[in-house]
Symmetry: C2
Subunit: 155 residues, 2 copies
Amino acid sequence: MVNQIIYRTQAGQAIEELIVEIVATFFLLRAQGMRIGVVSSSGEGYWSVLRLLNIKGSQTVPQLARYRYVPRQSVQKLANEMLNDGVIEFLNNPAHKRSKLLRLTPKGEAVFQEMSDRIATLAETLAEQQDTDQLQNAANIMKQLHEQLRTMLNQ
Amino acid sequence: MVNQIIYRTQAGQAIEELIVEIVATFFLLRAQGMRIGVVSSSGEGYWSVLRLLNIKGSQTVPQLARYRYVPRQSVQKLANEMLNDGVIEFLNNPAHKRSKLLRLTPKGEAVFQEMSDRIATLAETLAEQQDTDQLQNAANIMKQLHEQLRTMLNQ
DNA sequence: ATCAATATGGCAATTAGTTGTCATATTGAC
DNA sequence: GTCAATATGACAACTAATTGCCATATTGAT
């Protein structure tokens, strides 16, 4: 194995710190999510799918899985469970006979709203005494990182 | 159920966006981590534990689990696997007869270094053409959020 | 020192997550 | 249109993650 010498920039080191913090914070968010009733036994996937259907509109299982970069069958099981819970319904897909579109039911919208309120309450607590500009900048950087990774993975 | 009205601030909304992006980006990082050989079948836990042992020095299984907010037995299984791989060794713990300290072996340090290099390379790629100050600010905000959540969970 | 409450590792049981296979559907090249 | 390549959902098989339980160890209050 060749020992490649990596030249580090400040920007690169900052991104590396960011990556480390994303991974570490994910688990803390998960733990806090359980406390506030947003993360169930099914994990954060339930909320993530509700959110994608709310924002992007009806989607098929494979679409959701490809977007989230999780296995197709994980989303399939989640979708079957959500159908059973009555938070989504299966719609005929004009573009695909077999692959149904998942759409939020009114109950699903209510459940998503309820979860979002809990997250919003948490966010407002966390935001106290922090600088708005810095927070907005951080959110923007995260969105860019998100999109960069998506582009990278799609190649 | 009472419909609580939540007053939103810009800062709170920015944190909420941040939370959403952390969760979404986590899975993209995981997917990319698999590509670059940092995330194995055991998930990102392997790298996370190597990193904590490297930064914080020897730790027991319960210490690591409490810090990461993951189940104790998940870390226990990981530790047994890592011992088997020869990347850590079990040390007698002066403070606790049963609970051994986990310490990186030279091999463990090498493996961690190798993984870190791959992550650094990824980070440098992602950092190209981004503003250093903004990235550093984002990393700092993430560290603060991390610590805030930790404090919140520890109560 | 005593003892109740908590912590710990091992093991088993359970549950969640992932991968593999197959029949059918869709798409795209020609 | 034809047909090979790819996509899809169902189901099964497998693997990883989590939870439950227990025997023992530790801690802290008194």
